[in-house]
Each structure stands twice: as C-alpha cells, then as structure tokens.
Symmetry: C2
Subunit: 406 residues, 2 copies
C-alpha cells in the first residue's frame, strides 16, 4: 500500500540520529542514550500518558512543546526518572546539556526516559556523553537510536514510508519505538518518536497525530498497565518542499493515512514483542453499531488474561472470547455473535449466533500454532469496525516481571 | 469479632446438604454435583454477573427468585452450561429433576453451573444421580457440597458464624463458595451460596446481600475476567425464631455486618486460592476523598499484572503500585501518596508524598516473603477507606489456563 523505505527516523529530509552506551545499563554492549536531531527547527506535536503519575520527562516535554516547535529528541533507557524528587530538574538538565552541544534552544528539546520507576536518575553518565552523542549523529544512526531506547524489548522497532502528495511532492515519514510492558490503550501507551519532512503547521500536525494514534497505539494492550512515561511525538522538518498544510485538504488526508500506516506498523511490532510474548494477536471486530462499541469489544478480548493464556496454549477456548465480549459491551446481543479464528495456517468457525459450532480441534490447533493469530468477531448489528493489538500471556511474562528491578 | 462455628451452610437451622460424583468430571474421586436443601420454604435473594453473556443457569435462577422464595440449590461443576443452544432447557430440567425428588416446586430451586463454556451439558449423569443426591442430604454434608462445586480450586471454601440479635435470639449464617479464575469485581464474581436461619423478608434479605457483597466479593479480582456464570445467593429459613425483619432496624444492622463478615471471609479464601496463586494480596486504601475513589484505587492496584508479578517475585517494585494508583484515579494528587508494605513479617515504608524513600531491600524481601501481604496506601485527601482482595500472578496461572479444556 505504501512504499516502505530504509533508515526510519533518518529517512525524512533534515534528520540525523545517534545512540550509544552512556553507562545507565550495566551491560556495556547495550546502548542506553538516544538522540534524534533536525538541522532546522520543526513543527512538532505529542500525545502523552493519561496516568496521573507522570514521569518528569513527560511534564517537561509537554511544556517544551507548548509552542508547537522542537528540533531534537533525547531519550535514555534503564531509568524512568519518575517519582523522584529531583525528576523535573534532571529532565530539564538533560534538555540543557544536549541543547548546549547542539547549539539550539533548550526548550526545543523533547526529553524522554524509560525504565524502572522511583530510582534516582544518575545524571553524570548522560552529562559525560552528550558531546560524544552529538558527534555520532548521522544519516545511518537510526538503528543505534532505536537500540538505545529498548528496555525489555527483544528487537528494535523501526519503520519509514514515502508517499506522494497531490502535486507529486514526495514526503517521508519515519519512526522508532520501544515496548514492551506496562502497555494498555490510553493515549500513546509507549515511547514512539516520529519524524517527517512534510511542511505542515504544528496545529494540523497535532491533529494528524491524534487521528493516527487513536486506531493504532491506543488500541494496543500488552498487560493492562498504562505506563507513567508514555509519549508519542512527531517532528516535521518541512524540507520536503510542499505547500504548507494549514487545513484539512487532500494533502492533509494523504499524510494522515500514511502516518496512521506507520503508527499501525509500530503498534504491531510492539504487540509482537510484548513482554514474554510468543504470538501477535489481532482482534478484528466488525458489524458493530458504532465505532466505540467495536473498540470496547476488541480491547476487552485482547486484554483478557484468559484469552491470552489460551492463545499461548493454542487452545480454541472460544467461550473465553465470548465472556470477554460480554463484559466489554454488556448490552451486546449475544444471539448474533459469530467468532472465527484465523492465521496463515487457515481458519476455523468456533461460534455462530452466540452458540458453539462443531469444529475440528485438529484444525483449530493448526490455526493457532501460527505466531500471528486473528480473532475475528462479527456482531451483526451494524457497520462499524475496529481492531485491537495484543499478544499471548506466557511463563516468560511472569519471569520477566517477577524480578524486573535487579 | 464473630463466633465462628462448624458445618458452613448446614449450620443454620433447617438446612442439610450433599455432594457426590455424578460423572461430569473424568476423575471418579472428584465430586461434581452439590445440593443444599431447607426443610421449609425460605425467603431468598441473589446477585448475578453483569456480563451480557450469561450462563443459562443464571437466567433460570433469576426467574425462579423473582418471587423472593426458594428451598434448594443445585449446582454442578466441570461444565458452565453457557453458550449452548439447549442451555436453558437443561437448566430448567435440573430444577425439575431435583424438585421432583425433593417433592418441592421446581420454581423454588436455585440452579448453578460452573466449568467450561460452550460445551453441551450432559444431562444424563445429573438425571441418574438426583435420587442418590437427595438420599445423601445430611447436617454434615456441607463439605461434600463445597467439594462438588470446585473447578480449579485447590481447597474448599466454607464459613459460618453465630450472632445474637437484640433480644438475644441466636442467628446463624453459613456459606460455601468456589473460585478461582475468571474473577473480577462486577457484582458477585464467583459462585457463593449462603444460608441463614434468620427470619427476614425477601426484600430486606436482598438489600442485606447487596450491602454485604459490595465491599467483599465486588472488591475481588483474580484475573480481570468477569465470568458469565457468577452468582451469590442466600436462603433464609426463619427458623431462628426472631421477630421478622421487615425494616432497617437494629437487628437488620447486626445481620448485615455478620453477613458481610462471612462474605469477606469467603472473598479472602477465594483470593488466596486464585488460580496459580502463592500469595493473598490485600490492598488497603485510606485517606480518600470518597469511597468510590478508594475503591477505584484499590481495585486498580490489586488488578495490575505488574504489581501481581512483583508480589510473586517478592520484589518491592513500588513504582508499579504508584503507576496503578495513577491510572486507577487519574486526578489523584500524587504529591500526597504514602505506600507501606506489611505482613506478619513486618512492614516497610517505600513511598512518602509520592516519592521513593530509602528502604532496606533485605527487610522488604522479608516482608514480601509472607504468603499474606498488605499494600497500604494513604492518599491523605480525606477519610474514606476501601480494601480490595487479590493474589499474585505466577507461572502456574499461565500453566493452568494455557490448556484448561483438556
């Protein structure tokens, strides 16, 4: 659908990136400090966690983005800089330290942190590395940056696309993100940094970002816990050369859809790499009276621990899916619900009109043995559709989270 | 506080019970059919799951209890009789089969089923056993009945108390219940059958039951999944001989508190025996502006997979507790929150005024090594209090639910 290209956040014109080990993570081979930079000031926007307990970087970034402008993103992993007395002070220090080396205004920096909550952030390693980090900035540095924001992630999450506007101007959009636990739909539940070279006002950029995230990041759940530090930001350099977008015109619509495509791609990567996950699970709800109902049902199913463990066990225990539908939308007309399980290995009808249908356990097992499973639900009550993204619940989730701090 | 007595549901005057293996469970040593009976008609009340997908027995019991009268409870395990085309027919058949043997009206039977959803209920084993079940009724049959309603429960759940009314009439209340998965606060999330010999109108009985369950069963979460078949019912024989309670007088209040005590006891047993659980976790929230906020916060903490895995790992990762408080009530004043972890092994302050305090990891580990842990949260914003009941999330939860049907 979209032409996918290399170099994620460095693909759009104007952007470079870097990542390195500064000393926050114990293992010296693991990078822990990322930088994304644009050679000119950008319009910018963000969406943030709705959790009342907010990471200090979230507060500082919100303040810095009030004027709709930014030029760089700095992000460390291993420590969330949340619930610390000196949190805001340290977050601001991260901005000023990197701004000085980049020779930009400190209020034009987006700052983010991810990792353990409630441990004082050691600022020395960051302070001592800002110079080197800036010297590492390059057009090929996106993967290093993506590595540097990983916590329990098993792989880096990157994507970029190219799309043509009405006048054939080519626009690029790139993104890096990190998962992989404490993820539940409630405004930008994770860290994701998007860059683009489109020329767009910060107001329209914010609108596009909300549009793109509502059906993607906000429909993702790994474990039901809405994190304290989540943010999704976008920087637009304007260097693609299109006429500036200041209203909802055709170019705006093209950009929105391409941005949503990139966001969906990152969402799927995050679900796939959910803590301990062995399977990506997508719940596709059709035939709902309205979009809100479709979303509620999709989220309930994808968030159910019992559905998630059944997916892990490759057990077509569809009663649990019905159960989750029923509490997800407690006025649903049960007598109309159809459920179909599908994957690259085939498909199997398990429930029609609210009742079980006979199916081959062998075929069901085969369908569920895939590492990407779709739970297709038709409510047959309207025309609205929504999808939610999640993963299975495994022994490894418990293992990873039983002793995360040490 | 209350005098606890033996024989649970058989303790109140007029009641007998029985339990046996009828053939639904594969293992012949496991009982799967329970009966509770009163020698005279009782006033009765129930609260039920709010899930739109309701088990057929829930529908039939609701109908049967419309007149506020009942005389017997029949319950099978292994099969939930939910999402089956012939579900209601079978549930009604269970009522009429047992009513015939007991020589009572079939609409005076409370019927319940628990187990796998969406598999046709084999009625023959039940039909063939009703005679024997009735013949087994005795004053010592409560434990057999409690065994017969177990699914993944590891132990039976029983309690009974004796309490004196104003005129010194002694009233008894007994209960049996089953957990242990698909449990999340939303009106009576499990099966629990209560008996009492108090003389009370069915209207006041219903009111008392709601009062008692709101702070107990409705504050329990094992895994966030609100089941399809949950019900809590109470039968009152009136044989204690007190003046009938028809208004909110002193005796009503005494009864309400005693009923709540029994319900809380069953709630704690269910949390303790949550699927895969190694620890009972109680979250006690004080200092809230109102009860609703206190409940929201307590529920969010007790339901958090990340808090639950940390408890399993005996890791004082209090940042996750703050995180859950923040999404549980997203207008909380973070700067006032205190968190204290405690158990029989001691206590440890981990957070004061929203920030971490230095604590000994050794002492924290010692506190968390207990199998009953209290998470004490003070919001310092008012005088309201609530507690929620849950358990840790373990490898065994995943194991039990990865392949439940086979």
């Amino acid at each position: 659908m979209y032409k996918e290209i290399e170099n994620s956040v460095c693909a759009p014109k104007g952007f470079t990136a870097a990542g390195m080990h500064c000393g926050l993570k114990k293992n010296k081979n693991k990078k822990d400090l990322a930088l994304i930079y644009c050679d000119k000031i950008c319009t910018a926007a963000g969406v943030y966690t709705t959790n009342a307990v907010k990471g200090a970087p979230v507060t500082v970034t919100k303040e810095n983005l009030k004027n709709g402008l930014a030029q760089a993103v700095i992000c460390n992993s291993r420590n969330a800089n949340t619930c610390n007395k000196d949190g805001e002070e340290k977050a601001k220090l991260m901005c000023s330290l990197i701004a000085e080396k980049l020779n930009i205004n400190e209020s034009d920096v987006i700052v983010a942190s991810t990792g353990v909550i409630g441990q004082t952030l050691p600022i020395e390693p960051i302070k001592n590395s800002c110079g080197e980090l800036v010297s590492k900035l390059s057009k090929t540095g996106a993967n290093d940056a993506a590595q540097s924001i990983m916590t329990t992630d098993l792989f880096t999450k990157e994507a970029a696309v190219e799309v043509a506007l009405k006048d054939n101007t080519l626009v690029k959009i790139g993104a890096i993100a990190k998962g992989s636990g404490m993820i539940h739909p409630n405004m930008a539940t994770m860290l994701c940094f998007v860059t683009t070279d489109i020329n767009i006002s910060s107001q329209m950029l914010a609108k596009a970002l909300k549009y793109a995230s509502d059906d993607t990041f906000n429909m993702l759940s790994v474990d039901g816990d809405t994190s304290t530090n989540d943010m999704l930001t976008v920087l637009a350099s304007g260097q693609a050369g299109n006429n500036i977008i200041e209203e909802e015109n055709d170019d705006y619509k093209v950009f929105c859809e391409a941005l949503k495509f990139v966001c969906r791609k990152m969402t799927v990567l995050m679900a796939k790499d959910g803590e301990g996950a062995t399977k990506l699970v997508v719940c596709k709800v059709s035939g709902a009276e309205n979009k809100k109902i479709a979303k509620c049902v999709a989220r309930a199913v994808i968030s159910s621990n019992l559905v998630k463990t059944a997916m892990f066990g490759e057990d077509a225990n569809w009663g649990r899916i019905l159960c989750a539908i029923g509490y997800g939308y407690n006025e649903v007309d049960v007598s109309k619900i159809d459920v179909l399980l599908s994957s690259e290995n085939g498909k199997v009808d398990v429930c029609q009109n609210g009742y079980g249908v006979e199916f081959s356990e062998e075929i069901a097992k085969e369908v569920l043995s895939s590492d990407e499973i779709d739970i297709n639900i038709n409510l047959k009550a309207g025309n609205s559709y929504a999808e939610a993204f999640g993963c299975d619940l495994t022994y490894d989730y418990v293992k990873i989270n039983g002793d995360y701090r040490t």
